[in-house]
Each structure stands twice: as C-alpha cells, then as structure tokens.
C-alpha cells in the first residue's frame, strides 16, 4: 500500500534536483551585490517554503486524524512534521550562512521571515518531546494531533505578527518571485520543485519503512500468539508512533487506500 510509486518518485526527484543544481551553477547569473553566495538563496528559500508547507500539512493531517480516529493519519502527520523539522534545520543553517556572507553576522533580526521561522521552529521542536512524554499510544497520537493543529494555525499568524513588527533596514531579498529577472526566476522555480519532490519522497520512504515495521511486528505477535500482559520490548525508545493496530491496518488495506 505504501510502497507504490516510490521508485518513479525517487527517479523524478533525482532528475529535477540535478536539473536544479545545474541551473544554479551554470545558468543563473551572478547577482551584482552578493556574488556567488547569493546562490544559496536557491536552496534556502525553497527549504523554508517546503518546511512551512509541511508543518501546515501536518496540521491538516492531524485534523483528519481527530475526525476519523484512523492512526495512519497520525503517522502521516508525524512524518510530515518530523521531516519539516529536518528541512527547518537546513533552512536555519543556510539562512545563517547567507546572513554571514551578506551582512557579516550569523544572525540578523531584520529579516522577518527568518525570525518568524525561528519561532516556528522552536515551537515544533517540542513536538517530539511531547510525544515522548506520553506513554499511552492512543493518547499520544491524540495530543500530538491537537498540538499539530494549534501549531499549524500558528504558522501563518506568527509570520504576520513578526512581519508587522519588523522595521526593514536591509532590502528584503526574500520578496516574491515577481521582481526576479527571468533566469533567476526559472532557477528558483525548478529548485523549489526539486526540494518539494525531495520532501515528498523522503516522507514516503519514512512512511513505508514505518508501516513495514509495524506489519512485521503484528505478524510476529500473531505467530507467537502470545497475548500476555507484558508489552513487547522495544529496543530503542522513539517518540514516533510505532504501531498501527492490526484491525486498523486491515481496514486500511481493504478499503484500498492509494498512494501516500
């Protein structure tokens, strides 16, 4: 169920990313002020956009989870947020490098988008500790969903608030693509698509792996037919949802859920 389309997705991701890299290095012109360093913009901004969309998507999936009580939605929500968090780290690092190169500081408060992003990141960084701190898996999933929805609503509001509050001293380079000259715009769009594809592919990989592990565990349990009261020993404690109840998995398969 989950493994479908994985190969074609991976291939297209690699193809687009290679194209994007080629464009970045060979096609996009050097920007007058900032020189070569400006090219990091083609990585930094798509990372940020994809990460933020991922956070909001995680919130939407959480809404679905609370509505249908289907644990597979919770797993998707978890993976989306988890992956966005990783992309978020990438955003902050590339943003920092860019800031250092352009303005000489590792961090600037004048870029409202970067600042808002930091706040959002700090919020989502508590997602995994939150999950970790709740033992009952069903309650863990439910509370995580409540968090994901709240945080998902927070993302746009936070950006508005921070943007309103910042006086722009430096020219805002993170404006829309409307004022980018042709070649740069093209490179940017291709880059964006590439990173978005990367995100989706990685999410799919993680979902497939988790799902396979859960199915394996369920099969193993049924083989031993041991319904003793002691829970199975997990080698590593992880905050991730580790299980789909067999009944839920069976129904999911029977209704033929497609794709992600």
């Amino acid at each position: 169920m989950y493994g479908k389309g994985l190969r074609s997705l991976s291939i297209s991701t690699i193809a687009v990313m290679t194209a994007a890299l080629a464009l970045v290095f060979f096609y996009a012109p050097l920007e007058a002020e900032q020189g070569f360093l400006q090219k990091i913009f083609y990585v930094h901004v798509p990372l940020a956009i994809v990460a933020l969309c991922g956070f909001v998507a995680g919130g939407i999936m959480a809404i679905q989870h609370l509505r249908t009580r289907d644990p597979s939605w919770d797993m998707r929500s978890y993976v989306a947020i988890h992956m966005s968090l990783i992309f978020g780290v990438g955003t902050l690092i590339t943003g920092s490098i860019w800031a250092k190169g352009s303005w000489g500081h590792w961090w600037v408060w004048d870029e409202p988008t970067l600042v808002s992003f930091l706040i959002v990141f700090l919020l989502y960084a508590t997602y995994q500790p939150l999950r970790f701190a709740i033992e009952d898996p069903e309650r863990q999933a439910r509370y995580a969903s409540v968090f994901a929805i709240t945080a998902g609503a927070f993302v746009p509001l936070n950006f508005i608030a921070v943007r309103l509050s910042t006086a722009y001293v430096h020219p805002r380079v993170l404006g829309g693509t409307s004022n980018l000259p042709g070649p740069m715009a093209l490179t940017f769009v291709v880059s964006l698509i590439g990173i978005a594809l990367l995100y989706v592919t990685l999410c799919k990989y993680e979902l497939t792996a988790k799902h396979a592990r859960a199915q394996l565990r369920a099969l193993r349990r049924r083989l031993t037919a041991d319904d003793a009261a002691t829970p199975p020993v997990r080698r590593s404690r992880s905050a991730a949802p580790t299980t789909l109840h067999p009944a839920a998995m069976m129904t999911a398969r029977v209704t033929g859920k497609e794709g992600l």
């Binding site: 009952d136 069903e138 369920a218 349990r221 319904d227 003793a228 009261a229 829970p231 199975p232 299980t243």
Partner: protein
C-alpha cells in the same frame, strides 16, 4: 419491553499493541448485579471505566442503559455512578464543599448533600478539608459522591477497600442492591473476595489477561473456580 441494563458484544480495548480487553460479551438485566473477578491487570478496571463512559471502546458494541457508547455517552452520564480506586474528590476542599460541587454538576439540590452526609456519618466532620481526614472517612465521602444523584447503574471498584466493618455496614444500604422494585438498581462490582462477591452476584464474570474466562449466572458458579482465575 425495556432493553437490558447492559449489552456488551465483542468489546475490545487495546493499549498500544497490548490488548487490555478483548472479546468481552455479556448482558445484564435491570436490577441485577454483575460481579467481576480476576487478578490484577486482568482488565477489570478497564471494563468498569468503559462502562462508565470514561474510556472509548476500540472494537465491539456497548450499550449502557439503552444508549450506545461512545456516540450516545452523553445521554447516560447522569444516570450512572462510579466508585473507583481514586476518591475523585479535592483534598483541599471540605466534604461538604466537595459534595456540593458534585451536586451542582449533576443538578442535585443541597438537601441531598446533607442527607448523604448524615447517612455516611460524616456530618460532624464535614467542614474540614479532606486532607485532614483518614482514608476510611474519605472513602465514605466518595461513596456519598457516587450515589449523590441516585444513579440507575452503580459501578463499584472494590467498594469495601479502606472501610472498617462499621463503615461497611453504614454504606451497605447506599451501594447495595436496590429495595424499590419501581427503581431497579443495576450494579457492576469488581471484587477480590470470592465468597463475599459471589453472595451478592446474580451474574459472574471472570477475566484473565483481558479475556473472559468465566461467564455464568452466580448460582452455577463454584468458589473454587473463582480461585482458579487467580492461579
């Protein structure tokens, strides 16, 4: 013809990958008493909490006093009373304040609070914070809380825990089988006392590891079989 007080079919509830309850089916008519036996961890408390609408069933169907859970749980909440391991009372407030609080929640008048305080013999110490009272006294107030709104269905988890024999006698009419045929009182009791529990039961359910190991009318059950459950 009114439906039975409890109709449970294939109830299951899991905790992660472990089954807390599985395949539990039973039915209980109004006015009858069901006693549940089983070792610790067998799922007795879980079953009680599902019936109390505090936990959702993960599989199977549950009908309590004619309402199906979890969808119609709101309809049945005011009609059942739970006496669990925790007294469900605030330690900083007095017995009187606690009972008044619960009375307000259930839409019951203050006279009833006074009536119950007298019945459980706590009137004298009703204005002291609960944390100054002994465990037995707190349990008595907890009993009062459970029956405050005169519930049709009583769910009792080891009701005699922490009570001395005098107190047991005191609360017996409150949590005993109802005497008024027009208002039958159905009860589900979790018990560790084979002979005592058996004496009160109309139907017996034995649980082991979440599964029903024994389900019969009390008359057909031998105390030795109950002891077997704990082996």
């Amino acid at each position: 013809m009114p439906a039975g007080a409890l109709e449970v079919e294939g109830l299951a509830r899991h905790y992660g990958e472990r089954d807390a309850l599985s395949g539990v089916s039973l039915s209980l008519a109004h006015g009858q008493t069901l006693v549940v036996f089983g070792p610790n961890g067998a799922g007795k408390t879980t079953l009680l909490r599902v019936l109390a609408t505090l936990l959702r069933p993960h599989a199977g169907s549950v009908r309590v006093l004619g309402s199906s859970l979890p969808d119609d749980a709101w309809a049945v909440r005011g009609r059942l009373g739970l006496l669990g391991h925790e007294p469900l009372l605030y330690r900083e407030l007095t017995a009187r304040e606690n009972l008044r609080f619960h009375a307000r929640l259930h839409g019951v008048g203050d006279e009833r609070v006074q009536e119950l305080l007298d019945l459980v013999g706590m009137d004298g110490r009703s204005r002291e914070p609960l944390r100054t009272l002994s465990r037995g006294m707190v349990q008595r107030v907890a009993v009062a809380r459970a029956v405050l709104h005169d519930p049709e269905l009583l769910l009792l988890d080891e009701p005699h825990a922490n009570l001395d024999p005098a107190a047991v006698e005191l609360v017996a009419p409150l949590i005993g089988a109802g005497t008024d045929p027009a208002r039958p009182r159905t009860r589900v009791i979790c018990s560790h006392d084979p002979s005592g529990g058996l004496a009160e039961a109309d139907v017996v359910l034995g649980l082991r590891a979440g599964r029903p190991a024994l389900l019969r009318t009390a008359a057909d059950v031998d105390p030795a079989e109950i002891a077997e459950l704990y082996r």
